[in-house]
C-alpha cells in the first residue's frame, strides 16, 4: 500500500525538516522507555518508603517545616523549624509523598499512556473509517443517518462522554504478565503485571472515532466521483473492490495524519481521566499528576515530571504528524507530474 514514491517523499521531507527528526527522536525515546521500563527503571515504581518521602530531584533543595516539641525548663515548647531534605543519587528525579521513585513511575507511566493512545486510536480508526467510508461511498439515506449520529456524538465534550461511559460500564482492566519479568530478563522486584485498562481504551476510542468518520467520509465522497472509480465499476468491480482498491488507499493520507494528532489527544484524555480518578489506573502520568497536585507548593516535582512527559509525548507525536502531512499531501498530483 505504501508506494516507493511515498517512501521517497517521506525520506526527502525528513531530511529537510529538523522538527520531524526531533519528533521521531522524542517518540523513539518514549517508546523505548515504555517497552523496556522494567530493565531501565532504577526502582519498583510501587515501592513505598516513608522515610524517604518527598525527596527533591538532584540539584534541587527542598525544605520542609517540621514541628517538634521540646521540654525546656519544665515547659513544653513547640518549635517549628525548617529542615533541609537531602537529595539522593538513588532517586535522581526525587520521590513522591509515599517515597516512591518519580523517575521509575514516569517510565512505567509511559506504558499506560502509549497503550491507551495506540490501541485507542487503532480502534477509533477502524470504527471511524468503516463508518465514514460506508457513509461517503453510498451517500443518501445511509450517509444522512450515520452522519447525524456522528454529529450527536460530537456535541458532547469528550471528557464528559468518557466519564459517562465509564460510569455506565465500570472500570474493567486486565492484568497481563510482563514478559520481561516473567522470563527473568528483568529483576523480579519489578511489578509482575502490565495493566491493560480495557474500558478506558474502548471509551477513548468511542469518544474519538467520529473524527475519523468525518474525514474518511469526506475523502470517500471525493474519491467516489473520480473517473477511475467509474472505470472500475464499468469493468464490473464490486463495491467491496472499489472501496478496498481505490477509496481506502486514496483516503489514507489524511486519516494517517489525523491518527497521529488523535494519539496525542487520546494520551491527554487518558491523563485527564486518570487525573480525575476515572480510569482506575494506578500507574499513569495522569494519576501521578493528580497525586502530586496537593504537594505542588512544597514538592513540585511529583506532578511536574509526569506533566513534562505528557508534554514531550504530545509534542513529539504532533511533530511526526506534521511531517507525515507535509510528506504525503503534495505527493499525489503535484510532484514531478509530466505535463
Amino acid at each position: 500500500m505504501i508506494s516507493p514514491r511515498t517512501l521517497r517523499n517521506l525520506r526527502s521531507e525528513l531530511s529537510r525538516s529538523l522538527l520531524a527528526k526531533l519528533g521521531i527522536a522524542i517518540l523513539a525515546v518514549i517508546l523505548f522507555t515504555a517497552l523496556f521500563a522494567p530493565l531501565l527503571a532504577p526502582h519498583d515504581p510501587t515501592d513505598q518508603n516513608l522515610d524517604n518521602a518527598n525527596v527533591p530531584p538532584l540539584g534541587f533543595t527542598a525544605t520542609e517545616n517540621q514541628t517538634t516539641s521540646q521540654m525546656v525548663d519544665g515547659e513544653v515548647q513547640i518549635v517549628e523549624e525548617e529542615v533541609v531534605v537531602n537529595t539522593t543519587a538513588e532517586h535522581p528525579l526525587g520521590t513522591d509523598s509515599l517515597g516512591r521513585d518519580v523517575l521509575s513511575r514516569t517510565m512505567f507511566g509511559a506504558r499506560t499512556s502509549l497503550l491507551v493512545g495506540l490501541l485507542g486510536t487503532s480502534i477509533a480508526v477502524v470504527l471511524g473509517v468503516t463508518v465514514g467510508i460506508t457513509a461517503g461511498y453510498y451517500g443518501g439515506r445511509i450517509d444522512d443517518a450515520l452522519m447525524r449520529f456522528a454529529d450527536v456524538m460530537l456535541a458532547f465534550p469528550s471528557l464528559v462522554l468518557a466519564i459517562a461511559l465509564i460510569g455506565l460500564w465500570g472500570q474493567a482492566s486486565w492484568r497481563i504478565p510482563d514478559p520481561l519479568v516473567a522470563l527473568g530478563i528483568a529483576s523480579s522486584e519489578m511489578p509482575e503485571h502490565v495493566v491493560l485498562p480495557g474500558t478506558v481504551i474502548v471509551v477513548v476510542a468511542l469518544v474519538n472515532w467520529v473524527w475519523f468518520a468525518r474525514v474518511a467520509r469526506g475523502e470517500a465522497l471525493s474519491v467516489r466521483d473520480q473517473e477511475y472509480v467509474k472505470a472500475a465499476r464499468s469493468m464490473g468491480g464490486s463495491d467491496l473492490h472499489v472501496i478496498l482498491k481505490h477509496v481506502l488507499p486514496n483516503s489514507l493520507t489524511p486519516i494517517l495524519v489525523l491518527a497521529t494528532i488523535q494519539i496525542a489527544a487520546i494520551i491527554l484524555l487518558e491523563s485527564s481521566l486518570s487525573f480525575l480518578g476515572f480510569s482506575g489506573a494506578q500507574l499513569s502520568w495522569g494519576f501521578d499528576i493528580a497525586q502530586g497536585r496537593q504537594y505542588l507548593s512544597s514538592s513540585w516535582w511529583i506532578a511536574t515530571v509526569p506533566g513534562l512527559a505528557i508534554v514531550a509525548a504530545v509534542i513529539g507525536i504532533n511533530l511526526i504528524g506534521d511531517w507525515l502531512r507535509d510528506a504525503l499531501d503534495p505527493g499525489i498530483e503535484g510532484q514531478g507530474g509530466a505535463p
Binding site: D144, E227, S234, H246, G337, A338
Partner: protein
C-alpha cells in the same frame, strides 16, 4: 448492412431535484432534469458511431446510462440480443467483460496510487483472468501495443504525460478483449498534436481487433475521420443521425448546420468553441423549451403562416420575446439608463430598449408591434408585452415537437420530413389560428 450490436430504444435518464425526505414532507414539487430524453439508435457491429453535442447536452450521461453505470428512468438497451438493464449474475458479468469504457480525463481516470501495470490489469483481476505473472505479461504486451514501452509498467500515472495516460486508459479498456468500447471524449483533454496520434491508435486497434465504438465528442471535426456514422445531440435528444459523409456534406438539421459553420479553434476550450451562429445559451434541461428544443436558438425558426418577415428580423424578434418571457429584461435598470426616475417619458424608454435589442431593420408593421410590446413593458406589464408578441410571432416550432423519423439519415426538424402524426399536429395548429391584427394600427 451489418446487424446492430447495441440497440438503444427510447432511453431516458431523468434526475430529480427536490427529492430529499424533507422535500417530500413539505410537498415540494420534484423537478425533473431531463439529461437524456428519449434517445433511440443502433450501433452496428464493427462500426464507429460518433455522438456529438455541446457540453451539457447529455452525451456523457447517455454513455454512462448505456453502460449501466446509472440506472435509466425509461427505455431499454439491448446488447447482442440481451436486455442490459435486466441482466444479473453471470450474464451481467459477461456484459461487463464484453463492453468497456474509456474515459475523458487523463488525470482522474487513472488511480494515482496504482502503477501502470496494476491499472491495466485491473479488469483481469476483477474477473479473475490469469495468474499474476500472466496478467503482468499481458500488461506489457498492451503497453507496447498502445505505443508505450513495457519497462514503464511500474511507473505511476503522474510520471506520464496526458497523451500517455490516455493510452494507458485505452490499454485498460482493451485488456479483457471487449467487443464494444465506449470512448467518452477520449481526446478532448489533449493537445491537438497529441489528439491525432491517439485517434490513429484508436482506429488502428479497431481494425486489428474488430472493435465496435461509440465515440463521444463535443466537436464534429474530431469524429469526422473515425466515425462511420454520426449522431448529433441537443438537450438530451438526438436531432440528426446519418452517415458521416452525408452529415458533413448535406446536413439536415439547423443545429448540425450551425455546428458545421463553426470553426473550432484548437487553443480554446469547449465553451468558447460554441459557434457564433448559434446565439444564446443552451436552455436548462430542467425546463426545456416547448416544441422543438432547439427553437430558442434556431436560425431557421419557422414563421407562422400569416407572417412574411425577413428571417433575420424574425429571429431577433423571437429572441427579444424569449427575453421578455424569461423576465431577463430589467425594467428598473432600463429606466435608470433613460435617466427618468419618475418614469414618465415612455417614448424614451421605448427608443432606448428598441435600439439595444434590434440591429435589423424591421418591417414597419413589426416595428409597431414590437414598440407596443415595449410600451407595455414600460408600464410594468410584462404579461401584456409577452402576449402581444406571442400573438403575432408564435412559431409552429414551439407548439409541435418534431420527431426523429426512421431511416438512414433522419433529422428532428419540422423543415424536413416528419412522421405523419407530427405533420398532422402541425396542420391542426396552423388551421386553428387566425392571423392576428397588426400592432402598427394601434400605434
Amino acid at each position: 448492412m451489418t446487424d446492430p450490436l447495441v440497440t438503444v430504444d427510447g432511453l431516458e435518464k431523468y434526475y430529480y431535484e427536490n427529492d430529499t425526505l424533507l422535500d417530500r414532507l413539505t410537498g415540494a414539487e420534484r423537478e425533473a432534469v431531463r439529461a437524456v430524453d428519449g434517445v433511440s439508435f443502433e450501433v452496428r457491429e464493427g462500426e464507429t458511431l460518433g455522438v456529438v453535442g455541446e457540453s451539457g447536452c447529455g452525451k456523457s450521461t447517455l454513455a454512462e446510462t448505456l453502460m449501466r453505470l446509472r440506472e435509466p428512468t425509461g427505455g431499454s438497451v439491448t446488447f447482442d440480443g440481451d436486455p442490459v438493464y435486466e441482466l444479473s449474475g453471470d450474464d451481467m458479468d459477461a456484459f461487463r467483460r464484453r463492453a468497456q469504457v474509456m474515459f475523458q480525463d487523463p488525470f482522474s481516470s487513472l488511480d494515482p496510487r496504482m502503477t501502470a501495470g496494476e491499472i491495466i490489469t485491473e479488469p483481469l483481476a476483477i474477473h479473475g483472468v490469469g495468474t499474476g505473472a500472466e496478467r503482468r505479461e499481458r500488461a506489457e504486451t498492451l503497453l507496447e501495443e498502445v505505443g508505450l514501452s513495457a519497462d514503464q509498467i511500474d511507473r505511476y500515472p503522474h510520471e506520464f504525460s496526458g497523451g500517455q495516460r490516455q493510452r494507458i486508459g485505452f490499454a485498460r479498456a482493451l485488456a479483457i478483449d471487449p467487443e464494444f468500447v465506449v470512448l467518452d471524449e477520449p481526446v478532448s483533454a489533449l493537445d491537438v498534436s497529441v489528439q491525432a496520434q491517439v485517434l490513429n491508435l484508436l482506429a488502428d486497434m479497431q481494425a486489428e481487433r474488430d472493435l465496435t465504438y461509440l465515440f463521444i465528442a463535443h466537436d464534429l471535426s474530431v469524429v469526422r475521420h473515425i466515425s462511420d456514422r454520426v449522431a448529433v445531440m441537443y438537450l438530451g435528444e438526438i436531432v440528426e443521425i446519418g452517415p458521416t459523409e452525408e452529415i458533413f456534406e448535406d446536413p439536415q438539421h439547423p443545429y448540425t448546420k450551425a455546428l458545421l459553420e463553426s470553426v473550432p479553434r484548437a487553443d480554446t476550450d469547449e465553451r468558447d468553441r460554441v459557434v457564433e451562429t448559434i446565439r444564446g445559451d443552451v436552455p436548462s434541461p430542467r425546463d426545456p423549451p416547448s416544441g422543438c428544443s432547439f427553437r430558442t436558438r434556431c436560425p431557421e425558426l419557422i414563421q407562422p403562416p400569416w407572417l412574411d418577415a425577413p428571417q433575420a428580423a424574425f429571429r431577433e424578434i423571437s429572441e427579444f420575446r424569449t427575453r421578455i418571457e424569461n423576465g431577463d429584461i430589467d425594467v428598473d435598470t432600463r429606466w435608470e439608463q433613460v435617466g427618468d426616475p419618475d418614469r414618465e417619458d415612455r417614448a424614451a424608454f421605448v427608443d432606448s430598449l428598441y435600439a439595444e435589442a434590434f440591429d435589423e431593420d424591421l418591417p414597419d408593421d413589426d416595428e409597431g408591434t414590437v414598440r407596443e410590446a415595449i410600451r407595455a413593458l414600460a408600464d410594468g406589464d410584462r404579461e401584456a408585452a409577452a402576449a402581444t408578441l406571442r400573438e403575432r410571432y408564435r412559431s409552429p416550432c414551439e407548439a409541435v415537437d418534431p420527431a426523429l423519423p426512421a431511416g438512414e439519415h433522419p433529422s428532428a426538424c419540422l423543415l424536413n420530413e416528419q412522421p405523419d402524426d407530427v405533420e398532422a399536429a402541425r396542420e391542426e395548429w396552423e388551421a386553428d389560428r387566425d392571423a392576428p391584427g397588426v400592432g402598427a394600427s394601434s400605434r
